[in-house]
């Protein structure tokens, strides 16, 4: 019998963690792919990335508009309530055998709870990792609602088992994000910037292809709500002091996001004291990967710095608590939310240059491995039981 696998995705970042799983599921003769797209994918301000999903050949079986305006803890909480309600209806219609719920976004918890309450098996992608922000709690709560666990590192596997999950349900397949990364043909720095200027940059101000650049991705830390504006200001002041041009990505929509955007608008899309920073909405994945590959330094608090940068040896300055505890390569230097210390760390990284490549999050076959397991595994008892 063909197994129905329903993947749910809420934003660009979590989609990149399951895309190669979707590809492999779609190709697998014993699996039927269903796709539910919700969250930021359906919003203009985050690039309406559902279109990119469709362009890549995945047609959503259901889209769910559920994101409340506000970017604060209240809107975030209500959004997850709405997601749960809507997912109950969608899953009742789609009747999948397994739901694939990625990572640790606030929407992710609804992706685990709705099916679990409906006696549908939940496969969680990338449990067991350790970070800051509310993601830390969400990730582990989702582990405890899930029946199958596709983790990306050995330490994560150990942690998931320690939390009382059956060893035979935990698979270290690596990170599907790595699969994508290793497939993308490299571009030179100049070509990368030309493409950015051509395809992404909207205004008159463009990047200079002959010069190195920073890549800045800084998201709010929801458990430090209220400080996000001050935190990004420290970072921007450090970047301005060094003066290298900066490619800035708008933050995700977690609580605190509007505060970051407000400060970013002051620094970007103009030249201040010979410092040029342009804020971009969404860079398609292949171009983004090359942007990361060619950056002189990735600055901020994105998990990209922990998971992907090590495959290119790109130096990273990781700011604040958002990634605290996550496994990382030698290419990462930590700095607190302080302009002087951020500046020192960046200068250190610029002096050091590229690091040797490290493979921490898998070997690029996570998608295929996951699909094969989904197709062949005898699904565990729907009744979960802690192992101790």
């Amino acid at each position: 019998m063909v197994r129905k696998i329903c993947a749910i995705t809420a934003n660009r970042a979590d989609f990149s963690r399951i895309e190669t799983i979707l590809e492999a599921v779609k190709k697998h003769p014993d699996l039927d792919l269903q796709l539910v797209v919700l969250g930021s994918h359906l919003l203009e301000k985050t690039g309406h990335t559902v279109q990119e999903i469709i362009k890549r050949g995945f047609i959503p079986d259901q889209t769910i508009q559920m994101e409340l305006e506000g970017s604060n803890p209240v809107s975030m909480t209500k959004s997850v309530g709405l997601a749960m309600i809507e997912l109950a209806t969608a899953l009742d219609r789609l009747k999948p055998d397994v739901v694939v719920a990625p990572v640790d976004r606030f929407e992710s918890l609804a992706m685990g709870i709705a099916p679990a309450l409906m006696n549908i098996h939940v496969a969680h992608v990338q449990g067991g990792e350790v970070t800051g922000t509310i993601d830390e709690s969400i990730r582990h709560a989702l582990t405890k609602m899930s029946h199958l666990h596709f983790v990306a590192t050995e330490k994560s596997r150990e942690r998931v088992i320690k939390m009382g999950e059956l060893e035979e349900t935990v698979f270290n397949v690596g990170c599907p994000g790595t699969d994508l990364l290793l497939k993308i043909p490299p571009l030179s720095r100049e070509k990368t910037i030309w493409r950015l200027n051509d395809e992404i940059v909207r205004g008159d101000k463009k990047f200079d292809p002959s010069k190195p650049y920073f890549l800045l991705i800084q998201h709010p830390v929801t458990t430090e709500f209220g400080s996000s504006g001050d935190q990004i200001k420290e970072t921007m002041e450090a970047l301005k002091n060094i003066g290298q041009q900066a490619i800035v990505l708008w933050p995700n929509i977690d609580a605190g996001s509007d505060d970051i955007s407000k400060i970013l608008r002051r620094y970007t899309d103009k030249e201040i004291d010979h410092f040029t920073a342009l804020a971009l909405k969404h860079i398609p994945h292949d171009l983004f990967t090359n942007t990361l590959r060619n950056a002189s330094c990735l600055v901020g608090n994105s998990s990209t710095g922990m998971r992907e940068a090590c495959y290119f040896g790109t130096p990273v300055v990781n700011i604040g608590t958002r990634q605290s505890g996550r496994e990382r390569g030698r290419n990462v230097v930590d700095a607190p939310n302080d302009r002087k210390q951020i500046e020192d760390a960046i200068r250190f990284q610029l002096g050091h240059g590229a690091y040797p490549v490290e493979h921490i999050y898998g070997d690029g076959t996570a998608g295929e491995k996951t699909a094969e397991i989904l197709a062949t595994i005898k699904l565990p008892n729907i009744q979960k039981k802690i192992t101790y």
Binding site: G81, M118, N119, G132, K162
Partner: protein, 363 residues
């Protein structure tokens, strides 16, 4: 515990009620009793979606999360206290933690069957302070990566309540409620509480078996209607059909609920509790009331010597009931009991240093 919290000089108590407590069918009396005892209920969240199936249960959880958000924003508490393992409680916990309110969870680390098993541990991984009710559970919560500094075993507030209650249940209280036969509780009688197991499909068959076993055991029974979990419709239908066909002379009285201390007293008085309620494991361990625990719902929960576990097989249930009736009361067990449970919880809530950012504790 609410009483201790209300009386503590350094604590301001706010109460939010939701779920079955607000639906006449399930909890009207409890709420009335709570208000009659002098507790002010700040907010009531009517959130129970009808249907009695899995879709309704998932949607109810979503609705609770939505409503709880508004209320928590308005009440702006320093800490949210949640108890147990119901999906509504998980929704409340999500709302609080997403809004950076620390959460104190009572009864984490226990084991059971049904979806409760997953829900309980998910709440643990979201909560900041843990009031477990027994030593096994304390170890489990710590092993799941919680900081031992924030895990307290003060015993079970339910069992403490049971130990303090001096109410005497009477024939009048019991027989003024519900439908079916008049039961004389001065003579031997069974109490039956059997809830749905959401992760299983045959709830109808299971309650039918229990009903047959109880009828064949030939001793009067007070039977509580099942709770509102998915599967409740089939179970209620079976009981309703039976009642409509027979009306009386079958030796069973069906009731919705009792006030908490009447309920406690009933557990103390009954000859044997039959079904799958956690009160059989917890309160009854303290009273030494014999229990026949049916099926998987309480799988793994730490239990005293008063419990005989049986499958959903009629003969097995009947045999166990007969064995328990001839055994009679057991000695008191203190696995869930510690003195001053509520005082200790209140004192901890008043004094503990609160935090919002969790981190995995590697023991």
């Amino acid at each position: 515990m609410l009483k201790e919290l209300q009386e503590h000089p350094d604590i301001d108590l706010q109460i939010i009620c939701t779920g079955a407590l607000l639906v006449d069918r399930y909890g009207e009396k409890v709420l009335e009793d709570l208000e009659a005892s002098g507790f002010k209920i700040q907010e009531k969240i009517l959130s129970h979606i009808e249907g009695g199936n899995h879709v309704a249960m998932a949607k109810t959880a979503g609705l609770v999360a939505l409503e709880a958000t508004n209320i928590l924003q308005k009440l702006d508490p320093d800490i949210a206290v949640v108890c147990g393992d119901r999906s509504e409680v998980l929704a409340m916990t999500i709302a609080a933690t997403y809004m950076n309110k620390p959460v104190a969870h009572i009864e984490g680390g226990d084991l059971s069957g049904s979806i409760d098993e997953s829900v309980r541990h998910a709440i643990t991984k979201l909560a900041h302070v843990h009031f477990v009710t027994n030593e096994d559970s304390r170890k489990r919560v710590v092993q799941m990566g919680e900081n031992p500094k924030y895990v307290f075993n003060f015993g079970s507030p339910d069992v403490e309540f049971a130990s303090l209650s001096d109410m005497k249940i009477t024939n009048e209280i019991v027989n003024n409620r519900g439908v079916g036969d008049h039961i004389d509780i001065t003579k031997p009688f069974l109490t039956v509480i059997q809830h749905p197991v959401t992760t299983e499909r045959d709830n109808f068959a299971h309650i039918e078996t229990t009903l047959d076993a109880v009828l064949e055991a030939g001793i009067p029974a007070i039977w509580f209607w099942p709770n509102n979990d998915a599967g409740t419709n089939e179970m209620s239908r079976k009981l309703r059909e039976f009642h409509e066909k027979n009306l009386t002379n079958h030796g069973i009285r069906f009731i919705l609920d009792l006030k908490p201390d009447d309920f406690t007293s009933l557990l103390k008085t009954t000859s044997c509790l039959v079904g799958n309620s956690s009160s059989g494991i917890k309160e009854c361990s303290y009273f030494g009331t014999p229990v026949v625990n049916i099926g998987s719902r309480q799988n793994g929960r730490t239990r005293g010597p008063n419990v005989i576990d049986v499958s959903t097989d009629k003969e097995e249930i009947k045999k166990a009931i007969t064995a328990q009736l001839s055994h009679g009361p057991y000695p008191r067990s203190d696995i869930y009991y510690k003195p001053d449970t509520s005082k200790n919880i209140a004192a901890t809530l008043a004094n503990i240093e609160l935090y919002t950012q969790k981190s995995f504790h590697h023991a």
